[in-house]
Every structure is written in C-alpha cells, then in structure tokens.
C-alpha cells in the first residue's frame, strides 16, 4: 500500500469546523469570525475574476484560513485534463494558501462541454485505473495534498461491477490520495440504494479522511436528494459520531455545505456548534480509550 499521502497527512493542520463561502452568506460570515474556524471556497466562483468577487475572496482570506473545493476537474471524464483550468487552479490554491485541495469522484464534462452537474461513473476497475492516472497527474502538477469526495449517484450506471464502497477504497488507495468524506452523501446513497450506512463507512479507508462534509437533503417521493438546501438531519449527525469514533480516524476539518434556501445565520451557527460538540466528545472518547490502552 502506498503511504506517501498518509505521511503528508500527518503534517496537515487542524482547521476546525467551518463553512462553505457562498455569496448570500458572505456578510454574515465576515461579521461572525468567532463561530467559524475556516472557509471552504469553490475556486470556479473566483478563478480569473476581478471586481466584487475578487474583493470578497480577498476579504475572506484575510479573515479566515481557506481550503479549495473544486467542481470542474472532472476526474472521471475521458476528455483530456483541462490544463488551462489546472494552471489557473494552481495559482488559485497558492494565492489562498490552501493546505490541501479537493474535487469529486464524478465526470462533469465530456467532449469539452461542461455539464454543470456531478455525473456518476461506473464502479469498475477500468474507471479506477483511469481516474488513478488522472489523480496522480493532478497531484503532481498542483503539488499540494489532494483529497477526493464521494458523490451521490441516483442511477445504477451501466458497466458497474463492484459496490461504491469497494470502488472508493480501491481508488483512494491506488491513487494514494485523501478522502473528503461527505457524510450526507453516504446517507443519501445508502437510503436510495438500500444499503446500511454504518456498514458502508466500515468498508472505507477512513484513516485517509482529511475533511468531512455535512449537509442537508430532501425527501422527494421515495428518493432522497442531496440538495444542500435544508438543515442537517439527525441520522447524518449520528453517522458523523460513528465515523469520528472509528479507530485511526484523525480528521483535520469538518465543514457545512449550504447552497440554497439559506436560513437565518443563527441556524447555521447552531449547526456549527453541534458539530463542534460531536467532535469534542469523539476526540475526548478517543483520548480516554488511548489512555486506557497505554
């Protein structure tokens, strides 16, 4: 097993509990620096931009440590990697002094057309080999620890020959990268595909988890949709507790993604506080176990 990433992971800072920077939340975020530990920034919203966007980014980075969470690397696509995008991304992550950067397990473009959605890839060895090669190219070029996020998938993709958990595990190990564990996506996928989310987490290489995402979802008939437009549900908090309590798990950051239907900022602050409390209890419990075992 490759372990360059695991060695590099030990040097990563602990950022705490943070929030995704969204335009509608910016004013509140800039005013409430005690409630938020760091910001997660979508590079495509700021790359190559001046004006108000640039001003917002500069203010955000002056107040907070930031990480980069992209949506357009399209790691699963059979298009060539977009080197123009990568050059701009490299400049961006250096400008914001991000300790790591991330993107998704998906394809988001084909035939040079960007699709503005994270589309599912078939879970098989061909995809693993293809994405491993691309992840290594991206890592080498950007020269910063790289983590990939498990995405929701609403369709069983033709050509799949393994479970999502097996696919993710093999991909992350072969590519020797980190994991951005989206707990809400774990929940949504397991509910939609009839799986046990705790069993799912047990199968992942959680020791490679650098960052965790927490978000809300929406029930639509008999399907659950990853909308990022509602408060975090109790089962998702329970899964967070479970993941943090697993042996060998050392998380460096947990962030909330709220993309639409923005609530009063006090609600987001309550969610941040709830996550901090869960993290504190989980790490205290882990320390107690360590002491007992020592």
């Amino acid at each position: 097993m490759q372990n360059d990433f695991l060695s590099a992971k030990k040097q990563l800072p602990f950022l705490g509990v943070g929030l995704g920077l969204r335009t509608e939340l910016a004013e509140s975020i800039f005013a409430e620096t005690t409630a938020i530990d760091f910001l997660e920034i979508i590079p495509e919203q700021y790359m190559g931009k001046g004006g108000e966007s640039r001003e917002r980014l500069e203010k955000a980075c002056s107040l907070y440590q930031a990480v980069s969470h992209g949506v357009n690397l399209s790691l699963g696509s059979t298009d060539e990697l977009d080197w123009s995008y990568l050059r701009t991304l490299k400049q961006f992550v250096n400008d914001i002094r991000a300790p790591w950067f991330s993107d998704h397990v998906c394809f988001a473009s084909l035939g040079q057309v960007y699709l503005h959605e994270l589309l599912p890839v078939p879970f098989n060895r061909t995809t693993i080999e293809h994405m491993t090669r691309r992840i290594k190219q991206v890592k080498d070029y950007i020269d910063l620890p790289f983590i990939i996020e498990n995405t929701t998938y609403y369709m069983n993709v033709p050509g799949s020959a393994m479970s999502e958990a097996q696919f993710l595990s093999e991909l992350i190990e072969q590519a020797d990268c980190g994991l951005l564990l989206d707990i809400n996506n774990v929940y949504v996928n397991c509910i939609n595909h009839g799986l046990d989310p705790y069993n799912f987490l047990d199968q992942l290489p959680l020791e490679r988890t650098v960052q965790i995402h927490m978000a809300g979802h929406k029930q639509s008939g008999d399907i659950v949709l990853d909308t990022h437009g509602s408060s975090i549900a109790d089962p998702v908090y329970d899964l967070l507790k479970y993941a943090l309590g697993k042996p060998g798990v050392k998380v460096h950051a947990i962030s909330i993604e709220r993309d639409q239907n923005q609530p009063a900022f006090t609600e987001l602050k309550e969610e941040l506080a709830a996550i901090k409390s869960i993290y504190k209890n989980a790490t205290s419990a882990a320390l107690s176990v360590k002491k007992e075992g020592a």
């Binding site: 001046g50 040079q112 609403y154 050509g159």
Partner: protein
C-alpha cells in the same frame, strides 16, 4: 490503456440525460444496447435529465435574465436546444471568455441565438442587442483589472504621470441598433416584456465597471469619442496624443480642438472611462 468502454458509457449517459427522445426510446425498450445484463434505471436517468436541464436553465437565466423574461416559456426550449448544440459550438470557437462560468456555458449563446433562432430574431429584432448587452454585463462584472497600460506605469515619471491617463481596463464599446438603456428600463418595468416593441435607433454605447462600486454603467458616446477611447486603450496617453488623432477626423483648428479634448478628457475621467 484502453478506456473506450468508459468513453462509450459516458457518451451514452450524456445522451440519456440530454436527449429526451433517446431517453424515452431506451425507457420503452427497458435496456441499453451493448449492455445486455444491465437493467435500465429509468428513474435515475430521469432524475439526471431533469437536474441537468434545471442547472443549465437556471445558469442561463442568471446570465441572461431579461432575455429569459422576454422569451418567457420559449426560453426553456431554446436552452435545451442550445445544450444539444454545445458540442459543436465549443469545437468551432478557438477563444472563449476568461470568465470561467460564462465561458463554460453562456459564451456561445449570442452567436447561437442569431444563427439558430431566426424566427424569434425577426419577431424580437432588438433581442440580439439585449443578449449582447447581458453577455457583456456578465463579462464586465467579473473582469480582472489588469491592463497592458498599467504594466508600463512604473517607467513614467511622477510629473509625467499627472498629465497622462489610461482607459479603465473594465470597459467595452458596442454599436447598438436599439436604445439599450430604454430597452432595459421598459423590460424591467413591464409585466409582459414579450409584448414590447422598440424603434430602431443606431447608437454607440460604452459599458464600463465603476472601479469603486463595481456597478456596470452605460454611456452613449459619438463615433469620434469611441475612436479616441480605443486609441487611448493602447497605453498611457496625453491630451496632445488624443488631439493629434482627433485632428485627422475634425475640421477644428488645433488650438480649439485641444481645448475641446481637455474638456472631454475631464468628463471621461468623471465618468470613470479614464482612470
């Protein structure tokens, strides 16, 4: 490594998610060619088809909000067709917008609408101007402030710098065939903007981003002013430089022209055309 199967899978998925007729055909048959053991997931494919269309539509409404209001129910159909044409459009253009989001979806729309929607272009002859205005607004709002002229500032002496000026790097000039300011006002105030008609009116409009407030401004200018601004955009300029250019297009004596140019430059500085 051969990833032709992966490519084929992605092409089929994309076709399912963007081509309603293909989705319907596969749903009716219940299977996909080349995947004999695969049970077609109609619900999943329909979800992605809906999400992709919604995302495209909402993004395009954000870039072209007034166009969307004028075209009303037809806008959704147009965006669906535009999405299907994107593959060819992307390959046909060598340079796009530097604005990442605009480049990835909205950049090709002005040209596409002109070529593919000729019936609507005839019904709403002002629409091409409106689409161009909205594309330029999106471009200007996020434009980076770099300009070549700014790079040369270092070599200009302090005294000389006071007499020189340069063009706001976030500025565009367009010939319009309709009064775009009036168009925008009328559309914003109307409940049924699709019913509006506008007389043709040739004008040269300057669009710029205010460097302090970031608001986009519209100024009507004459063709000589447009020429002088375009010349000035080439680097740091002085009033004498502009007077020399204007003399080729104007019958006024040099001294008188110089005074007019001084007044013009001050006005343009007040409007943030020159910075």
């Amino acid at each position: 490594m051969d990833h032709s199967n992966l490519k084929e899978t992605e092409e089929i998925l994309l076709r399912l998610f963007t081509d309603r007729q293909y989705l319907y055909q596969v749903s009716s048959e219940g299977r996909l060619p080349n995947y004999p053991n695969y049970t077609f997931d109609r619900r999943g494919a329909s979800i992605y088809a809906a999400v992709l269309q919604t995302n495209r539509l909402e993004t395009m409404k954000a870039i072209y909000p007034r166009t969307a209001r004028v075209l009303a129910d037809q806008f959704e159909r147009i965006i669906k067709d535009y999405g299907l044409a994107l593959n060819k459009l992307v390959k046909s253009e060598t340079a796009g917008s530097k604005n990442f989001l605009l480049n990835k979806l909205g950049f090709y729309f002005p040209k596409y609408f002109q070529l593919a929607e000729q019936q609507l272009s005839s019904k709403y002859p002002y629409l091409q101007n409106l689409i161009q205005f909205e594309a330029a607004t999106a471009e200007l709002a996020d434009m980076e402030e770099k300009s070549e002229a700014a790079q040369t500032d270092k070599i200009v002496s302090q005294t000389a710098r006071q007499e020189w000026f340069r063009v706001n790097p976030c500025l565009m000039i367009f010939p319009f065939q309709y009064d775009i300011a009036e168009l925008i006002r009328a559309i914003d105030e109307s409940e049924n903007p699709g019913d509006l008609q506008f007389p043709a009116q040739e004008m040269v409009m300057l669009m710029l981003r205010n460097p302090s407030t970031y608001k986009i401004r519209l100024l009507e200018i004459n063709s000589l002013t447009a020429l002088l601004i375009e010349y000035a955009a080439g680097g740091n300029r002085s009033i004498e430089d502009l007077t020399a250019i204007a003399q080729d297009h104007c019958l006024l004596p040099a001294e008188s022209l110089n005074k007019h140019i001084k007044v013009l430059v001050e006005e343009l500085k007040n409007e943030f055309v020159f910075v």
